[in-house]
């Protein structure tokens, strides 16, 4: 995957969330999609850590602008960008990743892809909903919503990935 393709995927995921998915809040907030995390998760592995941090900041600003919120998404996506290299390292093979390794199901397998995406979306939702709750009394309920929303987002991400992922070359 070229950097241009990664950038396009990042940008399209952000725009889709800003224009469509942020309006698609179901079950009184218990199912809230965060498809923009897919754009962050699909950035090539093995890059410099600051790349993920800056990408997170840019994605957060875009979502804050679309959702008319003050810094909530920026703070969340920055934290996800900070955690992303650690999540990648957690799932890395013994020899590590090569630069520009694709974090796709085709390249890493569905198990790896599922765990990686769930960790990314989980971190995003737990931080976002926790910050938004704003008080300890509401935290438990907010994190419950975060976890149910992880399931929805993962379902959407898996569907998109299944439809648009590059096919593995046949031998």
């Amino acid at each position: 995957m070229t950097p241009v393709a990664a950038f396009l995927r990042f940008f399209i995921a952000g725009i889709l969330q800003a224009l469509f998915f942020q309006h698609l809040v179901l079950a009184n907030g218990w199912l809230t999609p965060s498809i923009h995390v897919y754009g962050l998760a699909m950035l090539p592995l093995g890059r410099k850590p600051w790349v993920y941090l800056v990408a997170g900041g840019v994605m957060g600003l875009l979502q804050d602008f679309a959702a008319a919120s003050n810094g909530l998404y920026t703070a969340t996506c920055l934290a996800v960008g900070f955690l992303q290299p650690s999540i990648g390292r957690l799932l890395a093979p013994r020899e590590g990743y090569e630069a520009n390794t694709e974090p796709t199901a085709a390249a890493q397998g569905w198990t790896w892809f599922s765990v990686y995406t769930l960790l990314m979306v989980g971190a995003h939702n737990l931080i976002l909903f926790g910050l938004e709750a704003g008080r300890w009394g509401l935290l438990l309920r907010a994190e419950g919503k975060a976890l149910t929303s992880v399931a929805l987002t993962f379902g959407l991400v898996a569907l998109v990935h299944l439809l648009f992922q590059p096919r593995p070359r046949s031998r």
């Binding site: 009184n28 850590p49 600051w50 900041g57 008319a68 003050n70 900070f82 709750a133 009394g137």
Partner: protein
């Protein structure tokens, strides 16, 4: 110093993150859950048209065309009714009618000078109009909700009306005669409204028309339920009593209904009652609202600001 620089260079990723995250959290915290400022005005101006389109699509499912027309008509009728009621209730500029003297010339001729040598005749005629005349001090603007959140602790509504339509920060928002929220940020075409179901805001309310003033707050748990706190234990309350705005905050006219009491409890100190109030406003089905501009709000706010603060 050199060691510090080396330390920063070694942990530059962490330092970069801490700086950016602190900035973002500071930005979020500075708004205190109330989105406002130039960023929000830019966002509303840029996204408002798209939000309108999305709202239109969302409303297609509930017979949008006919329903919207009926709701708009309802909003306009209510606005006219409210304005009329206020006009009738406002006696400050009413003409006071007194019967004119039968024959003023004869009376003047018959008048006897008093001890000071001044002739006093009966004064009659019309009382001059007050400074407000019979001008309606309450203005009502209908608006459409184009975006609403009901799943957060800091919920909000976005209306398709702004300063160009007469809206201003601090105006109250009502739906079907009940309080909904207040205008918090406004652009030329759009307005951001903070509803009663926002954990960061308190509303001045009382039980019935004569109850003591208390704080209406939302705990963020159930969308239709809020709590009326700091109600003295001596207050007699029954389930079904109406909770009304005091009008002290200047958002709503006094007596604007918030909801009804459904349950009664006592706070942690045991000194005050906590009443659970079911709101009249149905936040999941808000389509049209009326924005209320209580007259003289700016002057009253200015006076309030002049009040000396304790040192």
């Amino acid at each position: 110093m050199r060691n510090l620089l080396l330390l920063i260079a070694r942990h530059h990723r962490l330092v970069l993150f801490v700086v950016f995250e602190a900035l973002a959290l500071g930005w979020y915290a500075s708004a205190n859950g109330h989105a406002r400022g130039a960023w929000i005005r830019m966002s509303l101006a840029a996204n408002g048209a798209w939000m309108e389109r999305v709202a239109r699509v969302k409303h297609v499912g509930d017979l949008a065309t006919s329903n919207d027309a009926l709701l708009r008509e309802n909003a306009e009728l209510r606005a006219a009714l409210l304005a009329r009621e206020t006009e009738l209730a406002d006696t400050s500029g009413w003409v006071v009618w007194e019967p004119p003297p039968v024959d003023t010339a004869a009376l003047a001729a018959a008048a006897v000078p008093d001890s000071g040598g001044v002739v006093r005749t009966a004064v009659s005629g019309q009382k001059p109009r007050g400074p407000r005349g019979i001008e309606v001090p309450l203005r009502v603007y209908p608006a459409r909700v184009i975006r609403a959140s009901d799943d957060r602790s800091a919920n909000y509504l976005i209306l398709d009306a702004g300063t160009a339509d007469g809206l201003a920060v601090g105006q109250g928002v009502m739906a079907l005669g009940a309080a909904v929220g207040r205008v918090h940020e406004v652009t030329g075409q759009y307005a951001l409204v903070l509803p009663l179901v926002h954990t960061g805001i308190e509303w001045s309310a009382r039980v019935g028309a004569d109850g003591p003033a208390a704080r209406l707050v939302w705990d963020g748990k159930s969308l239709g339920m809020t709590q009326l706190r700091d109600v003295p234990r001596s207050t007699v309350v029954a389930a079904g009593d109406t909770v009304l705005a005091t009008g002290f905050q200047g958002f709503f006219p006094a007596g604007t209904p918030f909801g009804t009491v459904v349950e009664e409890g006592v706070d942690r100190t045991g000194e005050f009652k906590v009443l659970t109030v079911q709101l009249f406003a149905d936040y999941r089905n808000l389509r049209y609202v009326e924005v209320i501009d209580v007259g003289d709000r700016e002057q009253l706010d200015a006076l309030g600001r002049r009040t000396p603060q304790p040192e």
